[in-house]
Symmetry: C2
Subunit: 348 residues, 2 copies
Amino acid sequence: MKLNDRAETLLRALVELYINEGQPVGSRTLARKLKRSLSPATVRNVMSDLEDLGLIHSPHTSAGRIPTQEGYRFFVDSLLQIKPLEQLTLEEMQEKFSNESDPQLLLTKASELLSQVTHFAGVVLIPGQRSSLFRQIEFVKLASQRVLTILITDDGRVQNRVIPTDRSYAASELVEAANFFNQVYAGTSLADVRRGLLKEMQKDSDEMHRITATALAVAGKLFDDEDDGPDAVMLSGEANLLNVPDLCQIEKLQKLFDAFKTKQDLLDLLDRSMKVSGISIFIGGESGYRSLDDCSVVTAPYDHDGEIIGTVGVIGPTRMSYDEVIPVVDVTARLLSGALSTTSDRLE
Amino acid sequence: MKLNDRAETLLRALVELYINEGQPVGSRTLARKLKRSLSPATVRNVMSDLEDLGLIHSPHTSAGRIPTQEGYRFFVDSLLQIKPLEQLTLEEMQEKFSNESDPQLLLTKASELLSQVTHFAGVVLIPGQRSSLFRQIEFVKLASQRVLTILITDDGRVQNRVIPTDRSYAASELVEAANFFNQVYAGTSLADVRRGLLKEMQKDSDEMHRITATALAVAGKLFDDEDDGPDAVMLSGEANLLNVPDLCQIEKLQKLFDAFKTKQDLLDLLDRSMKVSGISIFIGGESGYRSLDDCSVVTAPYDHDGEIIGTVGVIGPTRMSYDEVIPVVDVTARLLSGALSTTSDRLE
DNA sequence: GTTAGCACTCGGATCAGCGGAGTGCTAATG
DNA sequence: CATTAGCACTCCGCTGATCCGAGTGCTAAC
């Protein structure tokens, strides 16, 4: 879509005004706002054109205009000039990430940071472990027939799981099995570990070494099912959205919070955005999920040593200051990537 | 406070009606509701007395009466007859707990259960680890200068923490240190472990055995600070409260969700209720926390092998069906206690 | 002690009227 | 030919008036 200069200037001014004030913008207001002094009548003519193009519309005859979803899209794609982040904010953000090395906590902090700085909801897609590399496993004997398994991956994440077993194992057996495991699989991806285990299992158990059998019996179940788990999306500051005037209708909030609870839509959305490099912006219903109808989602992928492993983002009303939110999301993703890399817990 | 029979019957009917309908109850309605056929006029007289006693009041001259906080309190203390739990609900609840042994997950499930069954918010106070018994510790070498510590307590909980260290330790050193630790402290409470460590630290480091020094260096920081952590309260189904008509004002919800975020008030409240055996009910502002003004909290402590270690509860509007919520909370606490005990991961 | 009757009060719904903000159209203007 | 001024028109939201229903408190009768 191509607009002439004047129309663009006008649309930009209109969207900015609406984002700031939250009320339909009339021709008079818009005319006053512009340096190039146009009369309200001229402005009206242009607005009429913009309305025909589907970029703005009036809620009713005698109200001003507000941007449509397409209007926001055009604004974001072609007109938006992103503000650089305030120095103070930047320092505050860096501050938050310094002195922290636990990957889990880093993700939590990123999410909190996003919600605090933007006053909307912060969201983090936590990478599935499928692609991480196996580093180490530990087995701890609990009550008879149950073993605590501790799986440590290359990116420093730790997963605990209690596994019921067929028989009771002696502590020494478990140590042997763990050692075996650690030697054989160190450095391979979890998916490969899984494949390896499946292969082992197909062998006849008689031929198997005793230690291997133990390892299989205990760890088999661990790798059996999906490891990504249902909690791959982390949300912070949902309550911030209660303050947002655009969403103050209970039913909207209900839909939204329902979506937050199930998390499936969010997960899909973030997963999609992970496949794009750089900032993604989903405006209103563009995402295709009705629950996010009045919301926009701004996301950016983050990486661990160059490989994209997840996404951070902000969920706010469609009427948000994109020029402020975008750099915040961008910087958060960068800081998070940085923090994850420098603290990378590689094997030596 | 003592009421005559008729007044009690009337008050009970009034509260029940109001809880069901959510609207001020007038004398005519109340008269119709009662089997003993009293005339509205008589009912009015009694209501007038009840109002003088501060148990009910009218929002305005020509509306019916609604219970005051004190009215609810009297109702709950003296008039409430608790419904037995429906068989179906009970089975559903048992279902949810079966096949689960991980204590962490059990707590999560309890919280979810409470919110699902009552359609309010479920809350669980997660016991601080201070009183749990030390079972086992593992040290895993990460990148140089950082060690992953895994602390396992007697109740089956597992705590991971990455600890930065002063120097780089060899894997063998860490194994030795862990063994040392496990032998010396197995079975003592975490508080005692902490005390023991402090004592060791005061000794001159020259006299110390090398292994002890390593153990101290790595684990010292782990026990240094409060281990209860900021996440000792777990909430589920907050979003359910959006559906509650009594709370549908945005500002109330804001206050409430703010409280949920900081969690401090909740923590205090639940902590108080842990010291009482059996169901506790905090009605409206009774708790002393303004954020819970329009809410009531119903709690019950749960135990692990007889020792009370935490609390489960439901947060809902003051106008809730106490006769239904109370048994749900009660049963949840029992089921949880049971599940924690039968799966108790004692050392053998 | 209980009840019937009655005047009174108050909130909520409905409606008309009004002012303001904004539009669309037309005709005039540079 | 683009721009502007003028004007009639529309529609929302606010205000005040009115009415109705629900409920009360009081008094007098049973």
